[in-house]
Symmetry: C2
Subunit: 142 residues, 2 copies
DNA sequence: GCACATGCTTGAGGTTGTCAAGTATCGGCA
DNA sequence: TGCCGATACTTGACAACCTCAAGCATGTGC
């Protein structure tokens, strides 16, 4: 006990893990309503409209092999949700951009993901605000 | 805005989702050190030693089809980490219990999962304690 | 006893994930 | 200039996960 982050850090993270595992089924379920797979949703989530991203960066974000991204992008491109493009300064790169249809699908996806699960929704308004503040601090660069 | 849980609930959940997606690679990585897959880890996580669980309940917890559980349990059983058993009162059921080896693997798994990711570890001790309190409240039955 | 529901398994088919190998391009260096 | 190693992506082989439909064994209600 009382190691790196202290016992409270470990307990907080463990509770968050429980939340994650309990909500594990939500992403596939939401994905299914959009006829997407979880991985495809993750890629779409990354692709802010108008902000091209290389496949290398996508593979890093998904924490998986680059060869994997090829297939996922293949299927999304076949459905007209995104496009591969080449950039002049480095012809090895394939840069990915969402199409208009892709952006619409992404917006629907984000809207459905935003609905908080019961444990969060159950908190009082003040507690929710406190949780927000804490999480913003956790992500702040310092 | 200001719908079901309030705007703060949605923002808090969105921040948590970011954390989840960012930490998405951790479970596979930890799983790999134990030569397990993420789904196998999830099953092991459920199986408190001495507490048999039916495959039906496992499928519900994983939010997936029952036929899926058959394969996952097959592989874990083949490695001696758990056992199928039948119970007298309902011979349709297959009840799963971890073996001694399975319990040891589970303990290692839980220990590695407990290490909090950077955003949580970065919080001050007081903030971590506050986060803990909030999350405990979120999971409390009311 | 019969119809129906439930728990599990099997098989087909698609997606995700790994690894190894191959192609194209870039950058540095003689 | 020309070569060499690194980098970005693709392809192919294979394992795991996941869903659906079908089938078998067992329980439950009429």
């Amino acid at each position: 006990m009382w190691k790196t982050g202290g016992a409270h850090a470990a307990e907080a993270w463990t509770l968050l893990l429980e939340l994650l595992l309990a909500e594990r089924g939500r992403l596939p379920a939401i994905a299914a309503t959009l006829r997407l797979s979880p991985a495809q949703c993750h890629v779409l989530h990354l692709l802010e409209p108008g902000r091209p991203v290389s496949m290398r960066r996508i593979a890093d974000a998904l924490a998986c092999d680059a060869s994997n991204v090829t297939g996922i992008v293949d299927r999304l491109e076949a459905r007209g949700l995104l496009q591969r493009r080449v950039v002049a300064h480095d012809r090895r790169l394939r840069v990915i951009v969402v199409t208009r249809r892709g952006a619409a699908a992404r917006a629907r996806l984000l809207a459905r993901l935003a609905a908080p699960p019961p444990p969060i929704a159950r908190l009082s308004r003040a507690e929710q605000r406190a949780l927000c503040t804490l999480l913003r601090r956790a992500f702040a660069p310092t």
